[in-house]
């Protein structure tokens, strides 16, 4: 049965094209990010090697969450194209074990094809990204080339993630002979998340500010935790805050578009947070980076060429990390929204029949993403300010340069995400067009 199913897989372009493109985009960006990190890990610069190693690791860690969000969006897109055929097989009497094996086999084939396409994208991007200058020289194509062994290993890890995400997606739905049923009740997000997050932040604050630590390694660990724990706390508390905001918006919504957008978020605050939560990291880093730049500009100008180079590299690295985080979030939004349009194609076609214009339908979808995005940015910027305040002080935090840089970062990010939304419009036009 699996062989028959796979043989027919590539017969219909509607089934394979979008998931392969999704996985291709995800793995292309993933490979490039990993290649960038490897460039710093193997950089031959004796004096600053450890510093580059540390910063590359931090950047890699920061990008893990948007990367996972992107991967799960691609898997969701794959799931939508598969559901109808799965319920057909259920109708014919396939067991859930058979369906699981089938999903596994199909995910390996489609994600594998996507990762191959992603490798090609990575190869195409290398000359462009290679122009970026770090440690006094352009990274170059050779600097970004992972080599066949590492490339194959990274692709294998990406494939593993993709298959895990696809199988996890199947657990969230119930395949019945009459169709694929998703949850009927909104997901619950408990307040206990907020309590855990606040406790974790409090512990780290106490450790950092009040407990004297003399061990150098321990000091580094606590300093890292001082930045990382609030970041993780934002991820934990985010869906809960989003739920509170959306509930208030649903109650007060004066227009149909706002009401539907708020209800859409309440349907699954966690999923919506995952979709745009990568921006929380970027906004968080944006505040720290913006105040860092303002702080440096207020100090005596550096004279040692190595210091000047390092500071320049750190700034470039931060902006690059932010850009990649936003890019991943924009792609994640694009893939998720495409999946949602396909998921609800009958509903959208019905609404268009009733007389709703594609413009109205798109406005509803834009609000469903942009309003939670505003909430995410508010939470992230607020918590980053709390973290940055004791380090840089109020004067630096409210300096025009800090605010300008932050506004620039957030503005670019929001624009990228909006473009991600725009990219889904052709799918909506096709879905609502004449049958």
């Amino acid at each position: 049965m699996i062989r028959l199913f796979l043989e027919k897989l590539f017969a219909d372009r509607a089934v394979w094209a979008l998931p392969v493109a999704g996985f291709g985009l995800t793995s292309g960006i993933g490979l490039m990010v990993f290649a960038g990190a490897m460039y710093f890990y193997t950089l031959e610069h004796s004096a600053l090697q450890d510093v580059y190693f540390l910063y590359a690791t931090v950047a890699l860690i920061l990008l893990v969450i948007p990367m996972l969000a992107l991967m799960s969006s691609a898997a969701r897109l794959l799931a939508r194209r598969r559901d109808e055929r799965l319920s057909g097989l259920r109708l014919l009497g396939a067991s859930s074990g058979q369906l699981r094996r089938l999903v596994l086999a199909e995910s390996v084939v489609l994600a594998g094809a996507g990762i191959l396409a992603g490798s090609l994208l990575y190869a195409l991007l290398m000359p462009l990204v290679g122009l970026l200058v770090f440690a006094g020289q352009p990274m170059g194509v050779s600097g970004l080339w992972l080599g066949p062994g590492l490339l194959a290993a990274t692709c294998a890890v990406l494939l593993l993630f993709a298959v895990a995400a696809a199988v996890a997606g199947l657990r969230r739905v119930e395949v019945t002979p009459l169709g694929v049923r998703t949850r009927q009740l909104p997901q619950r997000v408990k307040w206990v998340r907020a309590v855990i997050a606040l406790l974790a932040v409090a512990v780290v604050f106490i450790l950092h500010n009040m407990v004297p630590i003399h061990n150098e390694v321990l000091l580094l660990v606590v300093a890292f935790a001082f930045l990382a724990v609030p970041l993780l706390a934002v991820q934990l508390v985010g869906p809960w805050v989003l739920k509170l905001i959306a509930r208030r918006q649903a109650k007060r919504a004066a227009t149909a578009e706002r009401l539907i957008a708020a209800r859409n978020v309440l349907e699954s605050p966690q999923q919506m947070w995952r979709q745009v939560g990568g921006v929380a990291i970027a906004a968080f880093v944006g505040v720290i980076a913006g105040s860092g730049v303002a702080l440096m500009s207020s100090l005596e100008p550096m004279t040692h060429p190595e210091d000047v180079m390092l500071v320049g590299d750190i700034q470039r690295g931060v902006w690059l990390t932010l850009f990649v985080a936003f890019l991943m979030t924009a792609c994640s939004v694009g893939l998720n929204q495409t999946a949602q349009v396909l998921d609800r194609k009958d509903l959208y076609r019905g609404l268009a029949t009733m007389g709703l214009s594609v413009r109205q339908l798109n406005r509803i979808r834009v609000q469903s993403v942009m309003r939670p995005l505003a909430a995410v940015l508010t939470v992230a910027v607020g918590s980053a300010c709390v973290v940055a305040l004791p380090i840089v002080g109020l004067t630096i935090l409210t300096a025009p340069l800090t605010i300008l840089l932050l506004a620039l970062v957030l503005g670019t990010g929001v624009l990228l995400i909006y473009l991600g939304m725009l990219a889904t419009r052709p799918t909506m036009r096709v879905v609502t067009g004449p049958a």
Binding site: L185, P186, L259, I260, L347, G355, L356, P434
Partner: protein, 256 residues
Amino acid sequence: MSAPFIRETMVCMNTAPFITATQLSKRYGATEALRGVDVTIHHGESVAIMGPSGSGKTTLMHVLSGIITPHSGSVQFQALNRPVELSTLNSEKRAKLRLQHIGFVFQEGLLMPELTALENVAVALMLSGVPRPAAESTAAGWLHALGLEGMEDRRPGQLSGGQAQRVAIARAQVNNPQIVFADEPTGALDSATSDQVLSALLDSTSGRGAPLVVVTHDEAVAARCSRIVRLQDGRLVHDSATSGALPEGHNAGGGR
């Protein structure tokens, strides 16, 4: 069902046909879905469009409701007692006309899963610019009239098939449309529920003087309508209003 509520929403009637369609033809590539169909729909009547798969019944419904335009022929629609030629309107104008003057009921209900029953109905009014409190109040009236009192806050996933379909009927009626089109409205329901839903649909539409057009395969559904028209290979072959089968070459659907 609350008859007084439905009577309050009576449409303004006159004696002229509500829809007059003449010589409708529609092709999909080499396939002729409609071949010179003439049909008129009057105020207060319920018309069942029947026929085998591929006979052109859904195409006829789509042309009569302005979802698509015919390749040739004319569809005169009485919007607010003014005749409007649907085939001359662009897609935006037709969409606006559908939103304001036509109600639709689909086989699967097609309710928004994240909204409550009340919100699903109210949103149809809010999209036409009615403020939310007024929209919710009217929506609640329709839900009560259709026997869904106490279910306002339930989401579609928490309703039975028949209840969900009645919410869909309330959504179709809430704008006080001048005509309602239903595409296999009971196709996904068991016979007892189907009977109840059809009663709700007939009472809420024909009961307030608006015409109802139902596309169906089900003879039992058709039998409850005041008129049956049958299509075959894109031609209208029977109209109960003219008391029987139409002669070969005669393709006219008459009035009452």
